[in-house]
Every structure is written in structure tokens, then in C-alpha cells.
Amino acid sequence: MKLIFEKSFPGRIGFSKPTDLFDDIKLEESIPIKYLEKNKKQLTEVSEVDVIRHFTKLSKFNYGVDDGLYPLGSCTMKYNPRINEKMAGLANFSYAHPLSFPDMAQGSLELIYRLDKLLCEITGMDKYTMAPASGAHGELTGVLIMRKYFLDHGEKRHKMLIPDSAHGTNPASAAMAEFEVVEIKSNENGTVDLESLSHAMDGETVGLMLTNPNTVGLYDEGIESIQKIIHDKGGLLYYDGANLNASLGIIRPGDAGFDVVHLNLHKTFSTPHGGGGPGSGVVGVKSRLIPYLPTPVVALEESSGKYYFKDVGEKSIGMIRSFWGNFSVLVKTFAWILSLGPEGLYECSKASIINANYVLAKLKEYYKPAYDRYCGHECTLTGREYKKYGIKTLDIAKRLMDYGFHPPTIYFPHFEPYADETIMIEPPESEGKEVLDDFINTMIAISKEAKENPELLTSAPRRTPITRTDDAMAVRRPILTYDDELRLKDELNYQEKDINF
């Protein structure tokens, strides 16, 4: 398939600008010369129908949660109910201007206010900020709150403990807040090694960032001891909400001793995720940390019954994003929580845990689990057994694409000796038994192919628009723009034979 740049035809246009308005304007007089691009940008010249057909064709190669199972571990790629979109699309929400006078946006403010209360009830926290725009943004916000708390108390703490099973964003966020990252090893159960934790936790340490269930989908049963070890030394416990999908209505991080929590509304709370986004990484805290939240928050004036933006005060870490967060995501979250209700939220987590354990039970004979125990909302299998046939976990994932499935997460987390050659499968609650059975039978068929006809795997995928890509070259010499394409085409001896659009 040609790039849109290659479809360019000189002089063809897709719009007409009101010429008489612009005829007299000279660019050099409007924009200082130093800001003007010297080289003319290579832009494509196409008509409207060319654009529509080009992108419609591309969209047909796409695979999303509306196409089928998307079992990407640790990502909670669940179905996005249409009622959410309908609510977020209501004109009073979608046309609300962020700089409206609060009097004219009372409904939007009330939604933020009530969502805060609901999230507090669901997670056992005392107050949320809706500002962070993504999970990692929420993490940074959370660790900055922890940092400010200790600065305010005159304590010099500079280390942050992070388990080896953590998402890479955890150490990155801690490092951005200028903390030194100390890695805590996992034990043979896949959870935090308490002895290493006690040894590492001291008066110079801010605390621990923990995901629970953790990144291999296992509930850390040591949480009571963990919170004691951290709090006894004056530290704070951070909850990465990536895996909250296993906990709704079952356990609340606030009750388990966590002081700061970030939630990924685009995971657990069913709002679109990935390219469709945007995300939202709201952060909840216990009461003693409320003075440090980003400013402002929505408050209710009891006397007038009106909602308003309240300045958090001088201890606040400040604004971390323009305006009031990704508001439409908050509307979708609110709609989802109300449409399910407390029982529905509990059923959601229950179903996701049952789904994951069903897949684990059916596949453990074929793909050795990293840990021999029940899992949370996702299970961690490994492709170790197939190394002797010359098959890597990557080949198994690629072969799944030939059968029309999105592959699960592979090689993550990756720490020896337990989690090696990992395949992390998260079948969210929105998937029915027939879909899971299809997936399970396909995985079993691939296991047979790996032993009897490994080339089927090593040459996969064959039935997709683009076949096996050169991952290493893609990282070493990425082609991100058409300029790169033109520049690197000869050098890379770029071949189109594997692109059979």
C-alpha cells in the first residue's frame, strides 16, 4: 500500500481557502523570520476522497477491542460500553468550555465532585485529584505529593523502593522526582520478599511503590506486613492502580494501608485505551496528604449549594496539567460506575478473576506457569518448554496473529529465575466463555505446531497485512516520518516484499 505522500499529485487539493482574505498577507511580515522554516516541508497534495479512502483502508487493518479478544496482560483491554460515549457526548458536557464561569458549568463541576466521592468509596481513600492525564502522569503526581510531604516535615528522604516486578514507569516516575531507586527482589511466590524489604526500608527511604495484584497478576498476601514495615519507619505506601480490575468490591487499597493511589480510568473503568484514549490517571490520597494535592480541586459551598474551584493552598505541589484533567474520560467513568453499581463492580472483578484462572487452568499443562498458584485478573505463563524446538515466546505470539487474535503481553515482566519467557494473559470480564475457549484451543493448537511444525511459528505471521518485522532495525533506525523514509530508503535497502496490503 502506498503512503499518502506517494499518492500526491501536483496541484490537487482537498479544500479551498478564502483567497481574498489571505492574498495581501506576507508571511515574513506576520511571523518573525527566525521562526520561519527555511526548507519547504514536503506536504502531500491530495483530494478529500483520496484522504478518506486512504485512512479508511488503513483502519481496516486495525485490531481493537471492538474486533475481538485483546488479552494484553497488565493493560486491561476491556470493552468500552457505548453508554459511556453517549453520556460524554451530551452537548452540555462536550461543549462545556474549560474557562466557563463556574455558575455556567455547575453540572460538570458536580460530576467531578461526585466522581471524587465514588472513587473514594471504591478505593478507601479520602480525596482525589482528577488532573493527571495518564497512568504515568498520575504516578509522577503521586510521588511528587510524597516528596512534598517529607520536605514539609523537614525530613530528608531520598530513596524509593520498587519491586523487580513493577511496571517500568514506577522507577521512571521515582527518578523524575529525584529519588534514588532501590530494587526489591521477588520471592518464589512472585511477591515482595519481606526480608529484603525490611533490610532496605530505613529513615532515608520515602516508601514503596507497589502494584497489587502485582505485575504478574498475583495478589501480594504479605501486604499487611509490607505496610507495617514501611509505616514503622515513617514511610509512605504508594499503590499503582494498574491492576485494580481484580479488586473492585473485594479489597480497598485505602484499607490495606496505602497512602497514595493512582487509578487508570482507561483500564479498570472501561474508558478507551491506547490510540483511542485519552487516558486519565487520577490520584487519591489519605487525609494527611490532602494539603499537597495539585491545585485546584472542586468543592461544594454548603450555604449556596454551589460547586466551585478551590485553591488547595500553599502546600500544594501546584498545577500539573492545564485546566481540569481529561474531563470526557471522567464523564465516561462516572457513567460506568453508575451503570454497574456496587454489585456490578464486584461482579466485574469476580468475572475477570474467574476468566484468568480459567485460562490458567486450561493452559498450564501446555505453557508452564511462572508460579504454581491461583492468579488475580491475569495469569503469567511461560514459553520455556518450546526453546528446545527452537521456538521463542515471540514466535508463539506472532502465530496467534495468524489465527486472528491480538497477542498477549510477552517478555514482561522479565526477571530470572521465575518470570522468564513470560506470556501474560489478561482476559477481562467483558469476554465470554466461548471467546476464551476459542483462544485456549488456539493456544493448544500452536503448542502442537511448535513441536511438529515449528516453521509455522518462526515464519508467522503470514496472514496479516504486514508480516514479521525487523524489530531490532525498527529501534536502531526508526522511520518515523516521510523525511526519514526518503533519507533512509537507500541506506536500509528497504524492501516492500513483506508488505502485502
Binding site: L394, A472, V475
Partner: protein, 127 residues
């Protein structure tokens, strides 16, 4: 699975190797390590003059599937770093004991090699 072990080198449990010539140790990662990592796409530059202790993180390598820390098998001062692997990390995959070396370290505690594995022990360890 590729797991070539070169005679005459010392190895660590984390799959680094060191080749000792007088008080100079040349270090790198083993064939097993490069095979486990897969195609390596990035190596963090090692600075000349860095003082390392045995077991310190000396650099980080990134492959298409993982990021791994490389620990120094010996203590001492980095007197030379291999810059060719910065531009061509594929040398580590293609020739882990040759062109894919990481750094030369002037050893401050040569006796440390006694704690490391020889080729046959390492071969058994990663069988």
C-alpha cells in the same frame, strides 16, 4: 539456544565475562546472555575513568524484549570503553567475546577473580 563458552575467561552468575591479562580485565556479556536478550538495540555509554566495585552496575543494555543491567565482574578503574558497540550494538549479539567487549578495567583487587566461575563451571551453570 546458543550457549558458547570461551575457555580462559572468568564468568559471573549474572552472565558477564572477564578476560584477565596482567592487571587488566576486559569485560563483556556471555553468549548465553546475548541469546537470552535477543537483538540488542542500545547500550549505555561507559565513561572512561569510572571507578567500579565488583557487582556495581556498569552499564545498561536494551534489547527488543528487555532492558538488562550489566554488573562489573571486577573492581577497578575503566581505562577504555568500546565505542563501536554504541553505534553497532549488534556486535554484542554477533561476537560477544570479541568485537562485542564492553570495557577494559585496571583491576584494583585481582584476587576477586577467585570468586568467579571458570569456563567449565559456567558451562554447567548455564547448561
Amino acid at each position: 539456544m546458543s550457549n558458547k563458552v570461551l575457555e580462559g575467561l572468568f564468568y559471573t552468575k549474572n552472565d558477564e565475562w572477564v578476560k584477565v591479562e596482567d592487571d587488566l580485565g576486559t569485560i563483556g556479556i556471555s553468549d548465553y546472555a546475548q541469546d537470552q536478550l535477543g537483538d540488542i538495540v542500545y547500550v549505555e555509554e561507559i565513561k572512561k575513568g569510572t571507578i567500579v566495585n565488583q557487582g556495581d552496575i556498569i552499564t545498561t543494555v536494551e534489547s527488543v524484549k528487555a532492558v538488562a543491567e550489566v554488573y562489573s565482574p571486577i573492581s577497578g578503574e575503566v581505562i577504555e570503553a568500546n565505542h563501536t558497540i554504541i553505534d553497532e550494538p549488534s556486535h554484542i549479539n554477533g561476537d560477544p567475546y570479541g568485537k562485542g567487549w564492553f570495557a577494559k578495567i585496571k583491576m584494583s583487587k585481582p584476587e576477586e577473580t577467585k570468586e568467579l566461575m571458570n569456563a567449565s563451571d559456567y558451562g554447567d551453570y548455564r547448561k
